[in-house]
Amino acid sequence: MSLFSFTRRKYTSTEKRNLKWALLFISPWLFGFVTYELYPLAASFYYSLNRYDLIRPPVFLGFNNYIELFTTDPNFPQVLINTLYYVGFGVPLGIFFAFLIANLLNQKIVGRTFFRGVIYMPAIVPAVASAMVWQYLMNVQFGAINGILRSMELPIIPFLSSPAWSKPSLILVLIWTQGAAVVIFLAALQDVPKSLYEAASLDGASAWQKMLNVTIPMVSPIILFNLITGFVAGFQEFTIPWLLTEGGPMNSTEFLLIFLYRSAFVNFRMGKASAVAWVILIIIVIFTAIMFRTSARWIYYGGES
């Protein structure tokens, strides 16, 4: 009958034992949550308010790092535009193609497992290896694609060496790695009850009308899921753009994470890099919030609200 019995009922011995066990079981995560999630988040915000070059102690600047990014930094506006272009076109296009391919695979097809496997494979091949082969494929002088164009006496394409082509080229590689989305879509398509299609057929619906009124509404939660995970990953894409173009030509593929990397680990401006990190975080939060907010209008949750 301690003080606590005023505010809350006393736990039974089973509840106490459960709590003890549960805390023991989740303690690794809890420790990680504090040291590896909460602390970095707080520290990142702290550093974003400072100037810190690893040699001299941090100097408090207030929001000057952010102000610098949006006013005097010569590259940051371009970086934002590059990233929004890459993510804004690349992710929806990737999802669109993944959806089309999944629908194709969802037909009666001999060897579906094989086709699905091949299309998924680029998603698991090490990104460094993929980057090497794409850099070679897209090379102007001896790349295979231009080799074919040349032998057909067509004009060559400066995939990675012209600012006009660099972003579309990277988007092409991004689409190539969307195999996981294809697999997820295919599973969702196979879960759509056959009875719905049969009912639609009885009503005389065309294939296009079935797609529009049955398939798309039924898999719309998966479209949302793929879009959100795609955006979150897209805003943090590093390996393939970095290895293919290193941000060039003429800063045309300098994306947010490449810019962050350069600020922190090339120019040793830890404060500025942290401010970039928070800009990325805020953009991701805003994008996700918009997607969820507007999703109520175009998502069908099978009777649940």
Binding site: N18, L19, W21, A22, L23, F25, I26, P28, W29, F33, Y36, E37, Y39, P40, L41, A43, S44, Y47, L54, I101, L104, I109, F115, G117, V118, M121, P122, I124, V125, P126, A127, V128, A129, S130, M132, V133, L137, F142, A144, G147, S151, A180, V183, I184, A187, A188, I222, F225, V232, F235, Q236, F238, Y261, A264, M270, S274, A277, W278, I280, L281
Partner: protein, 303 residues
């Protein structure tokens, strides 16, 4: 009884009768495969090209139109490329200092944590699990600088401690996945063990784990894959060449190969090493395709 059998026979006879072969249905079939085959071919082409180019010599690299299947094939490229840089060391670092420890530790820690969220009822469980989901959303970009500074402070730069120590915490993605899986195991089983006087650890080890092998395989497979393929992490935290994993080794070789034309078989060597690093993943995929697909769907559709 007889009617049921007759009905069944009737049904199977109906199934066996083919649809009439109309011009339209043939066209649809043809269209399906004429879309699917080129599409699949273009997805596999870069990977095929990686292996094909690995077997070339320089004249074959620069031939126009491109040589699809090199003849003669230079199989020794694989060995020569591997010996261009200390790739044995890189492979050792990747496997024994990075991938294996991280995978093993992650499987154990994520299982333990997921059990705490799935099978024990305790006040605050929902709130804490909600925190797990929240950390799934936290971008790695935000952690990069503080983690780097932390590792620098601890003198852990240029080691693999970062990955092995954070593996101890369990990974939110896998905690989430395993929790969903554990919850699908009937409560009666653990309840029966409890009545027999088993404690939670015994229940996890004796009741839950034997039923969870497929889910654990998914966790191991994906953690293995992420570590094997990781480039940015080692790029930030691993400094000296003797500690490089394979991903950084390829990058190093590529920076040497940058002036193609001035070095012998640079491109074939680069492709050969890339192919050798990609090969275990491809082989694993062929043997464990079902586990891969299950894994994507477990984490994907339930997210």
């Amino acid at each position: 009884m007889t009617t049921a059998v007759q009905q069944q026979a009737g049904a199977s006879r109906i199934k066996k009768t083919r649809k009439p072969l109309t011009v339209q249905s043939v066209l649809v079939e043809a269209l399906k495969y004429s879309l699917l085959i080129p599409l699949t071919a273009s997805f596999i082409f870069p990977i095929f090209w990686m292996f094909s180019s690995a077997l070339k010599d320089d004249p074959q690299v620069f031939t126009i139109p491109p040589v699809l299947i090199p003849n003669p094939a230079f199989w020794e490229n694989f060995i020569d490329a591997w010996n261009m840089l200390p790739f044995n060391t890189f492979a050792f670092n990747t496997i024994f200092r990075f991938v294996l420890p991280v995978t093993l530790i992650t499987v154990v820690s994520s299982t333990v944590v997921a059990y705490g969220f799935a099978k024990i009822k305790w006040p605050g469980r929902e709130f804490f699990f909600w925190l797990v989901l929240l950390t799934l959303m936290l971008p790695w970009a935000v952690k990069m600088v503080p983690v780097f500074l932390g590792l620098r402070y601890l003198n852990w730069l240029d080691t693999y401690y970062f990955w092995t120590v954070t593996a101890l915490f369990g990974h939110p993605y896998f905690i989430f996945m395993l929790r969903q899986f554990f919850r699908s195991i009937p409560e009666d089983l653990s309840e029966a063990a409890r009545i027999d006087g088993a404690n939670e650890l015994t229940i996890l080890l004796r009741v839950i784990l034997p039923l969870s092998k497929p889910a654990l395989a998914v966790v191991a497979l994906f953690r293995f894959l992420w570590a094997w393929n990781d480039y940015l992490g080692p790029k930030l935290f691993i400094r000296t060449q003797e500690n490089y994993p394979l991903a950084l080794g390829i990058d190093l070789l590529s920076s040497r190969a940058d002036d193609v034309g001035r070095c012998v078989r640079c491109l074939p060597y680069l492709m050969a090493v890339s192919a050798l690093v990609a090969l275990p993943v491809i082989v694993m995929f062929f043997f464990a395709q079902r586990t891969f697909i299950e894994g994507i769907n477990l984490t994907g559709t339930k997210g």
